[in-house]
């Protein structure tokens, strides 16, 4: 639109250059309207496209033509001079628009200031999370100031992810407004792909997983559509040698489960310390430590975490040297004899797609519609609960009776068929309505009244939640439900993971306390269950915890404190061992589900 506007105005100036003489040959009073056209066009565009101070030169150039209305028809030279001056102003403005980074500058610093002020005023877990607002501001303002100056969307992404990570709250997040810039930032923020991810076993060893070249593993040739849209852009980041280098690790004998001991000479445990931000949030320390190795596999030689080499571009390493060629890491591993070997693994492109694929392979739930059933064995059924939402009408209400009635019928029907065990697949459950949770939990809860949470009392005049003298939020109205104990003689396992968040945490917390319910997973739930709010700014938007859910003693429900210890029930950690690695990455099996299915008494 900006360039089109400039071109149209420029064309009008050329037209007016010729009109100057034409109006003498064909005299008419209507020619004066032509001199007003550039101004009218600019006004209309300002209304529909917005007034833009970066286009001031064009506005002034258009307005300058009005001077010609004070000239007579015979003053052709003067009119032509005015047309040339206006045309030059428009051309100059167009050059500025095309090449100046300050044009259409994104308000990175202003966004941070506004978001920070909003969170400082309304984030409800500041005390519980031990947030020192002044320290946080002092640390991050200079970073965002630099980002604003350089207009670097990648550094903006990194800064926001580091900032939101300080809260250890699964509900604190930042999303860029522009989908394209967001995708590009993700591509450039997790380092390069050396043909593998890393994972830590139960035994403490760090192993290779999702290795290039093995079936069921991620491959750089994959054209499978993913949610982030890597498939559409990853080839742009691929070096020419990627296809030739693709099987480097496989040829060296590295496979899923191979123990990795060093990364570019750095002991593998030390490498983990370099990871400073993540794609997701991990309020529970144990969960964070589970995922860190996966992120570490993108770190390049003598490079900062997240710095990514892109062919044709230059990136600096830790010693401030320019890296202009494809990067390579020296991976030290234990071969089948147990002896240490080193392989030089060249980059195959960006690491972000393999990173995401590895996490999905570990964490993804069964791919069926929400609230649908799937037979696992003759006496075991699975119900997939991917989000706590039933339909559009019920989402903002507290009445989920229609859903509960439907589910009751299905549960009783399964009971009649002789089904004894139910698996609730809550993996990657993104949350939703707490009343949905109540509507499901009541069917399986022991008989009698069950308390879930208390709401908090709100100051209606200021629309804020205020703490009492004891430092806790003031308890409001309790939410309860009546248990029906439909599955009294059967067993239930909740299959969870670190991406089970918000109302997913609620369901785990509530149902995990029932006598016949067990909670299992590779990782515990996210531990973030306060209700959220959010706001969009110029370049992106934030969301954060803003509505308290309280326990009977007035404490905040579920969310971690400064110890980062999860507060939802977690009865059995599924062992992440060589068997799991083989099942997930070699056989493509749903290992957690299979493990849970075999766990019933």
């Amino acid at each position: 639109m900006d360039v089109s506007f400039s071109i149209i105005e420029f064309a009008l100036m050329i037209f007016l250059f010729f009109v100057a003489k034409l109006s003498v040959k064909r005299a008419s009073n209507r020619w004066r309207l032509v001199y007003a056209t550039p101004t009218f066009f600019a006004i209309v565009l300002a209304v529909f496209g917005g007034f833009d101070k970066g286009q001031a030169g064009i506005y002034i150039a258009a307005a300058l033509q009005l001077i010609c209305l004070f000239m007579t028809e015979k003053e052709v030279t003067k009119k032509r001079i005015v047309a040339i001056v206006s045309a030059l102003m428009i051309a100059g403005n167009l050059v500025y628009m095309c090449f100046s980074p300050m044009y259409k500058k994104l308000p990175y610093l202003a966004d941070f200031e506004e978001a920070f002020a909003m969170m400082k005023a309304h984030y409800i877990l500041g005390e519980e999370k031990g947030i020192d607002w002044d320290e946080l501001y002092a640390k991050y303002k200079p970073i965002f100031k630099e980002v604003d100056k350089t207009q670097d969307h990648v550094e903006n992404y990194k800064a926001w992810h580091m900032f939101t990570g300080e809260f250890y709250d699964g509900h604190v997040s930042y999303t860029e407004t522009s989908e394209g810039l967001c995708r590009d930032a993700i591509c450039r923020s997790y380092g390069n792909d050396y043909g593998l991810s890393l994972a830590r076993l139960e035994t403490g060893e760090v192993v290779a997983v999702n290795v290039e070249g093995y079936s069921n593993c991620y491959t750089i040739d994959s054209e499978e559509h993913d949610e982030i849209g890597f498939y559409s852009v990853k080839k742009d980041f691929m070096p020419d040698t990627a296809e030739a280098d693709r099987l480097t690790l496989k040829n060296a004998g590295i496979k899923n489960g191979t123990v990795i001991t060093k990364w570019n000479g750095i002991p593998i445990d030390e490498l983990m310390n370099e990871v400073t931000y993540y794609m997701d949030q991990y309020p529970v320390r144990e969960n964070e430590e589970f995922f860190i190795p996966i992120y570490a596999a993108g770190i390049g030689p003598n490079m900062e975490y997240g710095d990514t080499y892109v062919p044709g571009e230059t990136v600096k390493d830790k010693s401030d040297n320019n890296i202009k060629e494809n990067t390579m890491v020296n991976i030290t591993y234990l071969d089948s004899d147990g002896s240490e070997k080193i392989v030089s693994a060249p980059s195959l492109g960006i690491y972000a797609p393999r990173l995401r694929d590895t996490m999905d392979k570990i964490d993804k739930g069964v791919n069926i519609t929400n609230l649908n059933w799937q037979e696992v064995t003759e006496d075991t059924y699975l119900i997939r609960i991917s989000q706590m939402a039933y339909d559009e009408n019920t989402y903002t209400t507290s009445d989920y009776s229609e859903m509960t009635d439907k589910l009751r019928g299905e549960v009783l029907s399964l009971k009649e068929e002789g089904v004894k065990n139910i698996i609730f697949d809550l993996r990657q459950n993104g949350g939703g309505s707490p009343y949905f949770v109540n509507g499901v939990a009541q069917l399986f809860a022991p008989l009698g009244e069950h308390l879930t949470y208390y709401s908090a009392v709100i100051n209606e005049a200021t629309a804020t939640y205020e703490r009492g003298e004891d430092g806790k939020y003031v308890k409001g109205v309790p939410s309860t439900f009546e248990g029906e104990d439909l599955w009294h003689d059967g067993q239930i396992i909740l299959l969870v993971n670190a991406e089970c968040v918000s109302a997913g945490d609620d369901m785990t917390y509530i149902m995990g306390q029932f006598p016949n319910v067990k909670v299992m997973g590779f990782t515990s739930t996210n531990s973030s269950c306060q209700a959220t709010t959010g706001k969009d700014f110029g370049a992106g938007g934030i969301s954060f915890s803003a509505v308290p859910n309280l326990l009977e003693d007035g404490e905040i429900a579920i969310d971690t404190y400064t110890d980062h210890v999860g507060r939802t029930p977690f009865d059995e950690k599924i062992p992440f061992d060589e068997t799991a690695i083989t099942a997930i990455f070699d056989e493509g099996a749903d290992f957690p589900l299979d493990y849970v299915a075999n766990s019933f008494d």
Binding site: N29, R32, L33, A36, T39, I43, A46, V47, F48, G49, G50, F51, D52, A63, L66, L69, F70, A121, H122, T396, T397, S398, D399, P434, Y435, S455, A456, I458, E460, A461, T462, A463, T464, G476, V477, P478, S479, T480, A531, T533, A546, V547, N549
Partner: protein, 264 residues
């Protein structure tokens, strides 16, 4: 110029049609305020202040139409019987004819349109009381400041009137303009720009605030709002300066077009 202005004022003051139309608009604006204000907090905030906080365009949307009407009539009505032509023949300069009509049009239009902005506030107040969402003084300052973007918009309508020379087309343009914030919301970008008059009006009626909800076992999600109604010096100065500069620019543009116009 003074005599032309006096004759225009006499014409407007004694125009039964104009008076009747204005009374109808007062009634319509009063009804808008009466129907949109709530006594109890629900989806929208309570009281006149709640209505103003939740429904921004309630004060300035319709007055834009009366503004176009007044400017169209003052600047464009006389083209039918060529009064301007006769004024030139009787010795008035083009400058005095243009500025007399334009200044009368934009001043009378903006003053009467701004006065209309107060009507829904008054009727809502009488029905439901003021409420506690906004500070009364701040709202009065913001509504008084409306005269500046109204002045700017009136000047633009005046330029259009002298170009088009048909008051009824200007009224139609005014109607479209007054409907545009509601109908073309998605098309009209950069709604925070102070340099466009209808967006400046939206800025004056936009109360920054905080909105949050609570989860009630029986009612589900219940929303609460608190608003900040104070007027920043930037908004005041920006509104006044932008309006005066653009008004002057439109008058300059209008005169540049008018001075050689054939007046028929």
């Amino acid at each position: 110029m003074k005599n032309i202005m006096k004759s225009i004022w006499y014409e407007i003051y004694h125009s039964k049609l104009m008076i009747r139309i204005y009374i109808v608009f007062i009634f319509v604006m009063g009804l808008i305020g009466f129907l949109n204000s709530e006594t109890e907090r629900g989806t929208y905030s309570a009281g006149a202040s709640g209505m103003l906080a939740d429904i921004h365009e309630v004060t300035y949307e319709f007055p834009i139409f009366i503004l176009a009407l007044i400017v169209g009539i003052i600047c464009g009505e006389d083209y039918k019987d060529k009064v301007a032509n006769y004024e030139v023949l009787s010795g008035h300069s083009r400058k005095s004819i243009f500025f007399a009509r334009t200044l009368m049009g934009i001043i009378i239009g903006s003053v009467f349109a701004t006065l209309l902005c107060f009507v829904p506030i008054l009727t809502a107040w009488l029905k439901t009381g003021w409420g506690d969402s906004l500070v009364f003084g701040d709202v009065m300052i913001r509504t008084c400041l409306m005269i500046f973007p109204m002045l700017r918009l009136a000047a633009f309508f005046a330029v259009l009137t002298f170009l088009i020379k048909n008051p009824y087309i200007i009224m139609a343009i005014g109607f479209i303009t007054c409907m545009s914030p509601a109908l073309l919301n998605n098309m009209l970008a950069h709604s925070k720009s102070i340099f466009v008059s209808i967006f400046n009006m939206a800025l004056l009626c936009d109360y920054k605030g905080w909105s949050i909800y609570n989860i009630d076992p029986s009612e589900g999600i219940v929303y609460y709002n608190s608003y900040e109604s104070s007027v920043s010096s930037g908004l005041v100065i920006g509104t006044i300066v932008a309006s005066l500069v653009m008004t002057a620019f439109y008058l300059f543009m209008g005169y540049a077009l008018f001075r050689r116009d054939e007046l028929n």
